[in-house]
Symmetry: C2
């Protein structure tokens, strides 16, 4: 079910602090938990939990180096979101064109 993937993505990105973490990783590249926590506005455990959820959604990847964990964004995971959005817009435009055609036929 593809709608499952969309659901996970929307739910994951619905939280502002979580979305802010992902945005920072997109902008600044790879960062440690400590660096992310410094500007997150919430505690370190909260940041770790959010990163775990982002990881489960496939939006970030991590690798360990000594006692630090580095996280980086995985923006490919945004593709289903892009697909859904364009599809919704597409449905609407198709309907719009159908209506346009109908009006044209009625005009004849």
């Amino acid at each position: 079910m593809i709608t499952q993937t969309q659901d996970i993505l929307f739910k994951t990105l619905a939280d502002p602090t979580r979305r802010a973490l992902f945005e920072r990783l997109c902008r600044d590249g790879e960062l440690t938990v400590g660096a992310l926590t410094a500007d997150a506005g919430v505690s370190q455990p909260a940041v770790s939990k959010h990163l775990g959820i982002l990881k489960q959604a496939g939006l970030v990847r991590d690798h360990h180096q000594g006692r630090q964990t580095h996280y980086r964004a995985q923006p490919d995971a945004l593709e289903p979101l892009l697909d859904w959005t364009t599809q919704m817009a597409g449905f609407w435009h198709r309907r719009f064109n159908e209506l346009e055609d109908l009006l044209k036929r009625m005009d004849q």
Copy 2:
């Protein structure tokens, strides 16, 4: 704050039944509350509440006709979502190119 708009959109579309209502309106065009309720899988008050939230987010518009309320999708409201997604992908690609350039310079 544009991030406010994004927050509202993500939060609004994070709920599956609410997103399903929006999808149906995109596919099928204008529908009444009754028609939407028939296939929603939840009660009519639940549907009304969801439609109210979608309306506040600007994702749907309504108009009254007799005792029925007709709802239709307003897919233009998805634009900030599209902007955010492409922007995140853009940030990442820019960083990717920077890295690529760095590697090229190191290669010389």
